[in-house]
């Protein structure tokens, strides 16, 4: 980002002047330094990853110029001119300068470009350069810079660099050309779209747009770019879906996704129940929720919503792996629909509905939570009060807006709450019970002064809807009265609904919530180790969607997906970028890419559950801490580099090989991952391998590998993987393996590769 340019002409010249006080020499040199001019990957719009701003390249139609050539022979390469903001093919477009003898002293008159920053630097030895005076803004015309007096020979140069005052990912130079402001990240006023998001929309949508008087054609994503995006934003695409994405562009796809009606899980769950009953199998509640999840994930059009809901299910965790919830798939589906519904809503509403969800009330045991009775040494359950703070909103330590921890004067992290705060919040979460109250006599689901429930859940087995379908109800006589202290000096002293509202608002409004939730969403969708600047941009979108709304999930999702660190082409080459994909999502991706489905009994999804292999199941985390911790550091390369890799926590000596075996079986046997012949014989699994088969039948192995590369490894397949694949498949062809088997074998090998496992 700190690119160095020396003011122009190719040779240095000496000037000797006189001053009233003392004679001195100034050597003004043009020192052509080994300057790359390359952009910082996290700053500016650089979708093709060539290190040159796409805005500059479009303005000067420089996309096809070689970065290290100097076609206009003005002394600066194309790459360098992209840094100075000058025309690469116009010799006169350079930053000219001249020395001026003004009455107040010697000045350098220097051309400037709007948006760029300039810094005069001096050196006595060409080795060490020190700034002289303050940096100054480019204004589009020459500026006169006073040269400091010197008693010895000094060299001067001017450093030109970019700035991003509003930290929205676009440089001030780009924003000037795009007509947005560098003092406001959402300056164009479009709801839930940052200035970077708007620039991305212009540059990557079909059609033309005006860029400072220049008509520019939008550049649609390549298949590789579409594939990479879809792995971040969806559950897995077919080749046709990727081709469609290259026609519509990413912004329009997101708009469409935002407008699609949600695919809810409860109706599917109900269908499954009916299906099972009709087929004479063990009826509800024994069909696991995992079938429902798979059916929706395979068939839903609202892929972005389902993808975000799944991410939320790994943040606001409940699990069916408990004695009580394992039999309540309906309650789990109802909870999941909260996530689906609010995925494009507001985080505050999500937090509120999670707090009053009966499944959550059961999982974190604040349902039927009673006020303190000190005489009996009984106090409110602290479970939910703790985890809503630690895991669902603010976390343990105070955060800067960029997600880094604040420190006290001893350098220690600052706790966001004490156990006293938890006790206060536990008082808030008293008086909630399942809804509706038992119909018998209208009394709530716990006795007045009795800790024994009048009824318990067992009375409702088989009738989940009686208590898992509606939000928990408040019962004020069993809500703790009096003042409850909240965080940051707030307090509440109301009935249950008032206290709940105050407590949820208290957490929602806490400055930590944006960076805390933002970082987790980035980790789920894009990369395990986002930079502070990336977290900041997402936290800002959480704080204000551009129209004064806090917690707008659409703005947050756009910010996560349309960020320089997600979209600029060069990030994928950074060794610390990306994430190990959740093994479950790798599996869904394969199933969706080839449209695996049962011919006769499409609702049956039992053969898709890979939990035993890869230690992961939808809504099946071992605890509220999810399958892995967000800061898990696996031994080896990542830890040594100071990086986290959450998903590696379930990547063990045995899950690695079990996952290889499982996915291999799922592909080789068309989704039937069981060796149970009876089950395998039940139905035929349909798959779509026609295009791949045609390539095999045409003896086009490289074509097959390239198609699978685009479909599965985002066009990023490493040369070694490609070589291994082509050689292996060639040998298989020589062995006269049937095309049907050959295609599946190729898919299996790619599914085993590190290229497929890691999204980068």
């Amino acid at each position: 980002m700190m690119n160095v340019y020396v003011f122009r002409n190719g040779c240095k010249f000496r000037w000797t002047g006189r001053k009233r006080r003392a004679a001195f020499h100034v050597v003004l040199g043009l020192l052509l330094l080994p300057v790359t001019g390359q952009m910082d990957p996290g700053m500016g719009l650089d979708l093709n990853g060539d290190g040159i701003s796409d805005v500059w390249a479009s303005l000067y139609q420089a996309a096809l110029l070689a970065p290290d050539h100097d076609p206009d022979l003005d002394g600066l390469t194309t790459m360098q001119e992209s840094g100075t903001g000058t025309h690469p093919q116009l010799n006169s477009s350079v930053l000219k300068n001249q020395l001026l003898h003004l009455p107040e002293g010697l000045h350098l008159r220097h051309d400037t470009v709007v948006g760029k920053l300039y810094q005069l630097e001096t050196s006595a030895d060409l080795l060490e350069w020190l700034p002289a005076g303050d940096p100054f803004e480019g204004v589009g015309q020459p500026r006169d810079v006073p040269l400091p007096q010197a008693t010895t020979q000094l060299l001067y140069r001017i450093r030109v660099y970019d700035q991003d005052r509003d930290q929205d990912g676009l440089t001030a130079y780009e924003e000037h050309l795009l007509g947005s402001s560098d003092d406001d990240a959402t300056s164009t006023g479009a709801s839930s779209e940052s200035d970077y998001g708007r620039a991305f929309r212009l540059f990557s949508s079909p059609g033309v747009f005006d860029l400072n008087g220049q008509t520019v054609q939008g550049k649609l994503p390549t298949l590789a770019e579409a594939s990479r995006f879809y792995q971040q934003a969806g559950l897995g695409a077919t080749y046709t879906e990727l081709e469609q994405l290259t026609q519509t562009g990413i912004p329009a796809w997101i708009d469409t996704q935002f407008s699609l009606p949600p695919t809810l899980h409860v109706p599917v769950n109900n269908q499954l129940t009916v299906y099972e009953s009709e087929n004479g199998e063990e009826p509800f509640p024994h069909s696991p929720y995992v079938w429902t999840w798979w059916f929706v994930s395979m068939n839903a059009q609202d892929q972005l919503r389902q993808r975000v809901a799944f991410a939320l299910s790994e943040i606001l965790v409940i699990s069916q792996i408990t004695d009580e919830l394992e039999d309540h798939n309906w309650g789990i589906a109802t909870y999941y629909d909260l996530l689906v519904t609010h995925a494009f809503g507001n985080y505050r509403d999500l937090l509120h509905d999670v707090a009053t969800s009966p499944a959550m009330g059961n999982y974190l045991s604040h349902a039927k939570n009673m006020p303190a009775n000190p005489a009996l040494n009984r106090f409110p359950d602290e479970n939910f009060a703790r985890e809503i703070m630690q895991l669902f909103s603010i976390g343990l330590y105070e955060l800067e807006q960029n997600g880094t921890r604040k420190q006290d004067d001893q350098g220690n992290p600052i706790a966001t709450y004490t156990n006293k705060d938890i006790e206060n919040f536990a008082n808030v979460f008293t008086g909630l019970t399942y809804n509706p109250a038992p119909p018998t006599n209208g009394t709530p689901w716990f006795g007045e002064d009795d800790w024994t429930p009048i009824l318990n859940e067992d009375d409702f087995i088989g009738a989940d809807s009686q208590w898992m379908g509606l939000p928990m109800a408040g019962y004020d006589p069993l809500h703790t009265s009096g003042v409850k202290k909240l965080l940051r000096g707030a307090e509440t002293n109301g009935n249950l609904e008032q206290d709940l509202t105050a407590a949820i608002d208290n957490l929602f409004q806490h400055p930590n919530t944006g960076p805390f939730i933002g970082r987790r969403l980035i980790q789920r969708l894009v990369t395990s180790n986002p930079s502070p600047a990336y977290v900041y941009r997402v936290a800002e979108a959480f704080r204000d969607n551009g129209q004064g709304v806090r917690g707008d999930m659409k703005a947050v999702i756009r910010a996560v997906l349309l960020d320089p660190e997600a979209r600029n082409g060069s990030v994928q080459h950074q060794t610390d970028h990306g994430k190990l994909r959740e093994p479950l999502l790798r599996h869904v991706h394969l199933a969706r890419a080839f449209r695996m489905r049962a011919a006769q009994t499409p609702l049956r999804m039992d053969n898709f559950d890979g939990a035993q292999a890869y230690a992961m199941q939808p809504m099946g985390a071992p605890s509220v801490f999810n399958f892995y911790l967000p800061d898990h550091q696996p031994a080896g390369e990542l830890r040594e580099a100071g990086l986290v890799g959450p998903e590696f926590q379930i990547t063990t000596s045995t899950t690695t090989i079990k996952t290889l075996n499982f996915l291999s079986g799922a592909i080789a046997w068309d989704g039937l991952i069981t060796n149970d012949e009876e089950l395998a014989g039940n139905d035929e699994i349909l798959t779509d391998y026609q295009a791949e088969l045609q390539l095999v039948e045409a003896d086009n192995l490289p074509g097959l590998v390239e198609r699978l590369n685009l479909l599965l490894t985002r066009g990023q397949m490493s040369s070694s993987t490609r070589q291994i694949l082509e050689q292996t498949l060639q040998q298989a062809v020589l062995a006269e393996i049937e095309p049907d088997d050959l295609v599946r074998f190729a898919v299996t090998l790619i599914a085993s590769s590190p290229d497929f496992a890691v999204l980068r």
Binding site: E382, G636, G645, T654
Partner: protein, 460 residues
């Protein structure tokens, strides 16, 4: 000493990461000395039995004398176990009688025959803490006190003033591994996936399954129906895992797969021939201990003279259904320990294998109506032929509310640190006193290193 001076000292002492790493060479020299002094078979194993979620260990070990029980019952309210159900532990300890949870008949036998002991009120500590310093905010406390993830981390690293990456089992392995890896299998073996306890600077854990032959091997493609594809597939997958990747996630993923593929056959073969006569229960926990016993039986094939094992038993977060659910889990613990103890006798390594329990924390002494909440100091079990069994160690606390250890609701300040608890085990395992402070950087805040055993529950 004023507060500023005090904190200043702490912050100096708290800088531990570098000293721990820099002493590994030093420790390796000690290791040579350890090896030299053994004439009989030189083998020792430490088994960490971790109760995730926070075991309510004040319902695992209960004072049973009339006065103490009355106090217990009053404090615990509807979470108290009935006095007449408690299983008597022989002897008077710290002036009191104690009983075990009624589901732990096996452990009762182990204790009463001197094969197991109880360590009382142990927990994560950065420094000794008094109630007044806790309440005034002066006490230096573990990061993330009362939080599951943080306390699990601290129990596994024993460096609770940091978010330390390395566990103390891993630090031991860094020290001992060089003489100890003939087969290429790590000395740190986990039955419960990756964990911090066994993560060292150089050493990693090797994760196995409770059943089968422990390791999983790569299945032939199409179950071998096309033999050529099976063999081509094996070769191709190995080649992809052997290849170089510049992206660190790909590199890490490939290495983990490569290591797993490389070790699977060796491990399975070593364990395949080992059978244990002792009958183990069918549940995952007992089966995990069964697999540990088989792995210990294969110690010579695996070329390991020192091993650590890690078994995690989850589901102890009993905010709800404490009596029922905890009541169902205590027998599983007791049974697994009993079966494992018998198996160690069968293998003739009873005095060479020490099992110890750990957990995030104990739980509030008071009830929330349905269960109990997160607390701090806890009671733990140590078991094996090298343990001076039938005894209580540390100081079992008064259970009256408002005691000088009660930070509220019966969240008790620990009176033994995990450092002291683990240092006792590490000394037995072979770490010299001179090196203890390097393995447990905060140990000297609780105990004068060189003054003998920190607690005294191990025989040597």
């Amino acid at each position: 000493m004023n507060r500023r001076q005090f904190l200043g000292q702490l912050s100096c002492a708290a800088v531990t990461a570098t000293p721990v790493l820099s002493t590994i060479l030093n420790l390796q020299m000690t290791n040579a000395a350890v090896q030299a002094q053994h004439t009989e078979e030189d083998y020792k194993a430490l088994v960490c039995f971790f109760f995730a979620g926070g075991n309510d260990s004040f319902n695992m070990v209960v004072p049973s004398g009339l006065d103490e029980y009355t106090q217990y019952a009053q404090t615990r309210s509807n979470m108290a176990l009935a006095q007449n159900t408690l299983l008597n532990l022989n002897g008077i300890h710290q002036g009191r009688n104690f009983g075990l949870h009624p589901g732990m008949t096996g452990l009762q036998q182990l204790f009463n025959t001197g094969k197991a002991a109880i360590v009382s009120n142990v927990g994560t500590l950065v420094e000794p803490v008094t109630l007044s310093r806790f309440e005034s905010g002066q006490a230096k406390l573990p990061q993330g006190l009362f939080s599951h993830a943080d306390q699990i981390m601290h129990w596994q690293t024993s460096v609770p003033d940091q978010r330390a990456a390395l566990g103390w089992g891993g630090r031991l392995a860094d020290l001992l591994h060089p003489d100890n890896q003939a087969s290429g299998i790590s000395m740190n073996i986990s039955l419960s996936g990756t964990n911090r306890f066994q993560t060292g600077a150089q050493s990693v854990s090797y994760e196995i399954e409770p059943r089968g032959n422990g390791a999983i091997t790569l299945a032939p493609y199409l179950n071998g129906e096309e033999p050529i594809l099976a063999s081509l597939g094996q070769t191709a997958i190995h080649s992809m895992m052997d290849a170089e990747y510049s992206n660190l996630f790909q590199k890490s993923f490939a290495r983990k797969n490569r290591d797993a593929l490389g070790a699977a056959q060796t491990f399975s073969t070593a364990v395949a021939g080992k059978t244990i006569q002792t009958v183990f229960s069918a549940n995952d926990i007992s089966q995990s201990f069964h697999m540990i016993a088989r792995t210990i039986a294969a110690r010579q094939e695996l070329g390991l003279k020192r091993q650590t094992f890690f078994v995690l038993f989850g589901g102890f977060d009993h905010h709800d259904e404490l009596l029922k659910s905890h009541g169902a889990m205590m027998p599983v613990v007791s049974q697994a320990l009993t079966e494992f103890d018998a198996a160690m006798t069968e293998l003739g390594v009873h005095d060479k294998v020490t099992t110890f329990t750990a957990s995030d924390f104990a739980r509030t002494l008071t009830s929330n109506g349905k269960g109990t909440d997160h607390a701090w100091g806890s009671n733990q079990i140590v078991m094996g032929g090298a343990v001076k069994g039938g005894q209580f160690y540390g100081s079992y606390p008064e259970l009256a509310l408002g005691s000088n250890l009660d930070t509220g609701r019966g969240r008790l300040i620990p009176t033994l640190s995990t450092d002291e608890y683990f240092a006792e085990l590490a000394r037995w395992f072979g770490v010299a006193d001179a090196d203890l402070g390097n393995v447990f950087p905060n140990l000297d805040r609780f105990f004068t290193i060189g003054s003998g055993a920190p607690i005294g529950f191990m025989k040597s």
